[in-house]
């Protein structure tokens, strides 16, 4: 007994600080798969204690009806979605949904999307004014709307957008980058120069599933965004690339793409992420954040790490 007590080391801490938020774990629920939180919170015994923050589903200035169904197509280890930013518009979301956030014990980040910069700016301003919104994540790259990837594929446009949003709101601004749009490091640098407080890396990959019988795309909108474990190595690599650009500017990277387990989260963090986002995995288990947090805790114990933040950016490349 005595010996045990003597050897007992404190449980490793999963707590991190990000953009002024105190987060109990580095696990953030990604935009789009967690709704506006109240939907998921209806599940019996739902527990926010292992969730560091939630990014609310992207809202636009005006309501959007979304894309025609089918809106989902499965593929091994992944799924494509083409929701098309269906949402009731920023005013409705603020009036009807944000009031419920105070019932849930975690941090909230608002996701915004749009076509024109002015729409983003207006949305950000309205949402940032809400007391329970701690930061704004700018969805620069929705693959499911016309021209949705413009801001994420051109560093000039990206900088203009982030700069404008940053100017128009007093809360921290996270730029959510898109994969597969050219030089992601260049876009990352442009966003940082424009004042981004953090970078989310990244959104879904554009893909297509074809119904060979009908020789038509399975999705009603033809193409959609690929998510799930299928994209995890791609996302880990992009986090690694963006971290190289962001670390020297002291801008945190949030890793996102296919995380299902504690080990997946650890990979993202070693590659350079300060926190991770979990999206598609919620569809396999609503309580997945608790499982990922437990896995991450076990990893830290095995690695004799006391704090989760200590593993961020600790990647040792084989080829120096």
């Amino acid at each position: 007994m005595n010996q045990e007590r003597g050897n007992k080391t404190a449980e490793p801490s999963l707590e991190i600080g990000l953009l002024g938020m105190k987060m109990r774990t580095p696990i953030i629920m990604a935009s789009g798969t967690f709704g506006y939180a109240f939907e998921i919170a209806r599940v019996a015994e739902f527990d926010f204690s292992q969730i560091g923050a939630v990014v609310l589903k992207s809202v636009t200035l005006e309501p959007r009806q979304g894309n025609p169904p089918p809106r989902v197509a499965e593929t091994p280890s992944g799924m494509l979605n083409s929701i098309g930013l269906q949402n009731p518009g920023v005013d409705y979301v603020i009036r009807r949904y944000l009031g419920m956030l105070k019932n849930f014990d975690t941090n909230f980040i608002a996701g915004i999307a749009g076509d024109a910069i002015r729409e983003y700016v207006e949305c950000a301003g309205k949402l940032a004014a809400h007391g329970d919104i701690r930061a704004i994540e700018v969805n620069m790259s929705c693959p499911n709307v016309k021209d949705g990837r413009r801001f994420a594929s051109d560093s000039g446009a990206a900088a203009e957008l982030i700069g404008a949003v940053k100017k128009g709101c007093r809360k921290p601004v996270i730029a959510k980058l898109a994969p597969g749009t050219g030089d992601i490091q260049e876009i990352a640098r442009a966003c940082i120069d424009a004042g981004a407080d953090a970078l989310s890396v990244s959104n879904t990959y554009v893909g297509m599933v074809i119904d060979t019988h009908r020789r038509r795309p399975l999705l009603g909108n033809d193409a959609g965004g690929l998510s799930g474990p299928a994209i995890r190595p791609l996302a880990v690599h992009n986090v690694h690339l963006v971290y190289q650009a962001a670390a020297r500017r002291d801008v945190p990277v949030i890793g996102c793409g296919g995380i299902m387990t504690g080990d997946d989260a650890a990979q993202m963090m070693i590659a350079g992420a300060s926190a991770v986002q979990v999206g598609t995995a919620v569809f396999t288990n609503v309580h997945i954040a608790a499982d990922i947090a437990a896995g991450l805790g076990r990893y830290l114990i095995a690695q004799k790490e006391k704090e989760v933040s200590a593993i961020t950016g600790t990647l040792q490349l084989n080829r120096a």
């Binding site: 789009g32 709704g35 939907e39 589903k57 499965e74 979605n81 269906q86 598609t280 288990n285 609503v286």
Partner: protein, 297 residues
């Protein structure tokens, strides 16, 4: 009886009790899951992982396919904490479901969606029309309606007798239809003393010949002192035909819809179908819709 809202949904693990063929093309899965069995009310549904829990790292997470399958409730046995669900093998996911064995443990989420409360059903007689794996949810619904003092009558449609999810037995109808008193009836409904008739596209003795609308039309010709309405559940073209006939006859019709699903609890907007008031989610605004509101495509 109480006004109390049912609890849940529950994210939990169910144990497979049994798995048996249901007709020639479907399977009936019996699951033990007290939380869901006690709170489910037809025609709610649940989602199920296609892979059992294995005890390793990412436990019970299915990677291919990634998403859980939505299934309706067939027989609910709340006192035993069990329920049955019937599905047809149509793709990779349901093929994997068919390999589940007694003792396997699987991730489930439910009960999901809106239910039909008998006290919200104004008519005394309810025609429950459906086919394929749409029939089992109509079974639990018929029982609920019957227990509440309503008159449920089941009308089934199938191509051949073999494609029905349950065997048929001869039955003397309580309410004869189209001049028929003795028909072939679906065995589970007959056992619960609920009238049912079956329309087959390939004719046989004791069955109506043609599509489901043939017997449905006969039923709609009759008089119902306490009023009549329809609940439809089945393949979309069948539900659409039923809804069309209901529209012609100005009879209220609830359509139980299905859709490819993401979260199952209203967060992701994946399962939206087109309605007269825009895209609406099958998982929370449904699965029950007024058939007049559905925009068929």
């Amino acid at each position: 009886m109480s006004k109390q809202k049912p609890a849940g949904p529950y994210e939990t693990v169910a144990t497979v009790i049994a798995q048996e063929p249901a007709g020639a093309v479907a399977y009936c899965l019996t699951l033990e899951c007290p939380e869901i069995a006690r709170s489910a009310r037809p025609p709610q549904f649940f989602t199920i992982s296609c892979h059992p829990l294995t005890g390793d790292g990412a436990d019970g997470i299915s990677l291919d396919p990634l998403l859980r399958r939505p299934l309706g409730f067939y027989r609910l046995r709340p006192e035993k904490g069990e329920f049955d669900a019937v599905y047809q093998v149509v793709g990779r996911g349901t093929k994997l479901l068919a390999t589940l064995k007694p003792g396997d443990r699987v991730r489930v989420l439910g009960p999901l969606g809106k239910y039909i409360s008998p006290k919200d059903v104004n008519s005394q007689t309810v025609l429950l029309a459906g086919g394929g794996v749409g029939l089992p949810p109509l079974y639990s619904l018929a029982e609920t309606l019957k227990d509440a003092g309503k008159e449920p009558i089941v009308i089934a449609g199938a191509r051949r007798r073999e494609t029905l999810i349950a065997p048929t037995v001869p039955r003397k109808l309580k309410r004869p239809v189209g001049g028929r008193r003795e028909v072939q009836s679906l065995e589970p409904f007959a056992r619960s003393d609920i009238d049912s008739v079956v329309a087959l596209e390939e004719p046989e003795d004791g069955f109506f010949e043609g599509r489901i609308t043939v017997p449905l039309k006969e039923y709609l010709e009759q008089d119902y002192e306490g009023g009549v309405e329809i609940v439809a559940c089945g393949p979309p073209p069948m539900v659409r035909a039923i809804a069309g006939l209901a529209g012609e006859k100005s009879v209220k019709c609830a359509a139980i819809m299905e859709s490819r699903m993401g979260c199952g609890i209203g967060a992701c907007q994946t399962c939206a179908i087109k309605t007269t008031s825009g895209y609406r989610r099958v998982c929370v605004e449904g699965p029950v819709f007024d058939s007049k509101e559905i925009v068929w495509e």
